[in-house]
């Protein structure tokens, strides 16, 4: 008895082309909405801001001019990048944002780990519990910190009653300080950091952990050699989630930072509002956008995102 190999099914070239075209259409359809969204709400606004920065767009239409003066002023004036003061402020913002991002990741990782790998069926309930306070207004939460941190607030009252701080003394670094900005920003962003890490940990192949254990690795080694590297895409995404918005932050510094909390974002905000100097504000915004893009490219290269995600 002869067994015949099944005949190879060959799709005619015309059919293949038709299918390819169909797939391309579906892909285009799928990508078009996010692409349109990106163009409308990111690309075009960025271009508009860039046009403002060189005077091709101005608030008052008859006042249009093409000039690099706002850029020159920004790059050369001692108030801005031309002097140690302006540069210092920019570095201060960078450091603050970097520190807050790292802190958030460090605080959020154990939470995400517990939820994803330990909490079992209750994970989504617990996730909801963690996120619940953050469904309230951002402003309200920052104002609540003001109530806690100010010299007549709860924290100092407890410290005074406990005798840790003198009855007529206060903890000067607790409020109207860089520390206060740092603390409140970290608090505000922790849950948003926990989410991408949670997702990345939840999608871990648990068999890899079992294999590591079967091969004699301790829990710590398994975490170090398997869990952590495999969750790095989530960690990096979480870091970026915080780093980008906090570098331009100006509301929190204004509410709890006092004179010490003034950051680069505040200068930009001030240019657009009180100073009514949209050209300069736009130049600073474009500069910050470029700086963040460069930094992210460096981070990406240094952290080798692609190899981690693969």
């Amino acid at each position: 008895m002869t067994i015949h190999a099944p005949a190879e099914i060959v799709t005619p070239p015309r059919e293949r082309r038709r299918r390819r075209r169909g797939t391309a259409k579906v892909n285009l359809g799928l990508i078009s909405i996010p692409l349109l969204w990106l163009i409308l709400f990111f690309l075009i606004p960025v271009v508009l801001v860039a046009l403002y920065s060189v005077g091709l767009l101005t608030l008052i239409s008859y006042d249009k001019y093409l000039s690099l003066d706002p850029w020159r002023y920004f790059l050369h004036s001692s108030t801005y990048l031309g002097g140690p003061l302006g540069r210092g402020l920019f570095w201060k913002s960078l450091k603050m944002s970097f520190g807050v991002s790292i802190t958030c990741v460090l605080l959020a990782y154990p939470v995400a780990y517990m939820l994803a790998l330990v909490a079992g069926r209750r994970r989504y309930t617990l996730l909801l519990v963690i996120i619940t306070p953050f469904l309230t207004s951002y402003l309200l939460r920052v104002l609540a910190w003001r109530v806690l941190l100010n010299p007549q607030g709860v924290i100092e009252a407890v410290l005074r009653n406990a005798g840790i701080v003198a009855a007529d003394g206060n903890v000067s670094w607790l409020f109207n300080s860089t520390f206060a900005v740092y603390l409140v920003l970290a608090y505000s962003w922790v849950p948003f950091v926990a989410l991408p890490i949670f997702v990345s940990l939840e999608s871990l192949d648990l068999q890899m952990l079992e294999a590591s254990s079967d091969l004699g690795a301790s829990r710590l080694t398994t975490f170090r050699k398997v869990t952590l590297p495999m969750s790095m895409p989530g960690v990096i995404a979480a870091f970026v989630f915080v780093f980008i918005p906090t570098i331009g932050e100006y509301v929190t510094p204004q509410i709890v930072g006092g004179k010490a909390g003034y950051l680069f974002g505040n200068v930009i905000q001030s240019s657009f509002s009180a100073s009514f100097d949209w050209q300069l504000g736009s130049a600073m915004s474009v500069f910050m956008l470029a700086a963040v893009a460069i930094l992210l490219a460096i981070f990406g290269r240094y952290l080798n995102v692609r190899s981690v995600s693969e």
């Binding site: 608030l59 008859y62 402020l89 010299p151 509301v251 004179k259 905000q269 001030s270 009514f276």
Partner: protein, 382 residues
């Protein structure tokens, strides 16, 4: 809850930290796709074809400060049978200017007098016909003069106040009579400023500069004042307040002994702690706000009736008593106002007290950018 109120509900919200956030984001986009206000930029004369009131749409659009939609502020307008105006709210005048430049339409809005020229430059205003406003003759001529450009009444000045030091009299000697309270080493660590370049002017006045000239300092004078302010700020400043109720709290609790304040702070605090409101006799800076009329309004007569209702003595009395703001009407009922408040506002002779050399009203500053940039540098240096 007080802090929340300060942000959300109070008329003085305009000077809180929310400055510009939402408005600017929206206006940025709108500005790019704007409908031009007036390409020429010149102030527009009133339309020669102003029709009768019956031909007007009737529902006035007032672009106002939060809280200024309270019905008692235009009670006579409603009483006369005009329809309830439609309100939209501004967060600060800069934001309102930006929205206007972007094509946002209103019939009347409520800027500080220092910004009238900016609106005129973009062709957004026309002068009022004060003969259509019976209450206008009762308004303080000094205030109304601040609303005039080239002899035309572009703003009906209504609410006003001083910008001066409020001090804790139990901590500082109240007899100093100077803006130097805001810089003195005697209050080191207990001084609070508002987020405004006027601090530079106050430093200049405290150093002996003519208050009128402080609106038009030379570059080197501005540089000197910037350096002085930075030096004093680094040494003596507690904070720069953006939310007036936070400042009130800080004064009440003793964190702050000397602060930049408007008279409303005195009205709010005088019965709680030992405070004094210092109007330096060498010249006090003061601000005026009022209604301006859109150049292409379809509600010309309604707008005049609305501004006239705002101008009444009843509104003035209530505004002073309730909110601690001044009002331009000279016929306010002084008997129903706290004598302390009368004294602080100088309501016994408001014409004299608001005139130079007693007071120096806010005005258009052509070199506003230089002041703002210097002030930004001060804030960045603290």
């Amino acid at each position: 809850m007080g802090q929340l109120d300060a942000v959300m509900g109070n008329p003085a919200t305009r000077r809180t930290f929310l400055k510009g956030t939402g408005v600017l984001a929206a206006s940025g986009f709108l500005a790019a796709c704007r409908k031009n206000v007036n390409e020429s930029g010149a102030g527009t004369a009133p339309s020669s074809s102003i029709g009768p009131i019956e031909d007007e749409p009737g529902v006035l659009h007032a672009h106002e400060w939060a809280g200024y939609d309270a019905k008692w502020l235009y009670a006579d307008y409603l009483k006369a049978g005009y329809p309830q105006p439609k309100f939209s709210f501004l967060v600060n005048t800069e934001g309102a200017l930006a929205k206007t430049a972007a094509g946002f339409e209103w019939d009347v809005t409520h800027p500080e007098s220092g910004y009238i020229q900016d609106y005129i430059n973009m062709g957004a205003l026309q002068p009022w016909d004060t003969s259509l406003m019976p209450n206008f003759k009762h308004l303080n001529p000094v205030i109304e003069a601040s609303g005039q450009v080239d002899g035309k009444q572009y703003e009906i000045g209504l609410d006003w106040g001083y910008s001066a030091p409020l001090i804790r009299a139990d901590h500082l000697d109240p007899t100093l009579d100077s803006y130097s309270y805001l810089f003195t080493d005697d209050a080191a660590g207990h001084i609070s400023w508002f987020d405004t370049p006027w601090i530079l002017q106050m430093a200049a006045i405290a150093q002996g500069m003519d208050p009128g000239h402080s609106f038009d300092m030379t570059d080197s004078e501005l540089e000197d004042m910037k350096n002085y302010t930075i030096e004093k700020g680094q040494k003596n400043l507690y904070n720069i307040w953006v939310n007036y109720q936070d400042m009130w709290d800080d004064v009440q609790t003793g964190n702050v002994w000397a602060t930049y304040a408007w008279p409303d702070a005195y009205v709010a605090l005088k019965d709680k702690v030992d405070v004094a409101y210092i109007r330096p006799s060498g010249g006090t800076l003061a601000w005026v706000e009022g209604l301006v009329l859109r150049s292409d309004t379809q509600n010309y007569h309604h707008a005049h009736a609305f501004a006239d209702a705002w101008s009444s003595a009843t509104v003035g009395t209530k505004l002073i008593s309730n909110w601690g703001y001044g009002h331009a009407n000279l016929d306010v009922d002084l008997n129903s106002i706290d004598p302390d408040v009368v004294k602080v506002f100088g309501l016994d002779d408001p014409e004299k007290n608001l005139s130079e050399p007693q007071s120096y009203l806010d005005r258009y500053q052509a070199n506003r950018n230089a002041y703002n940039r210097a002030w930004n540098e001060v804030k960045a240096s603290l």
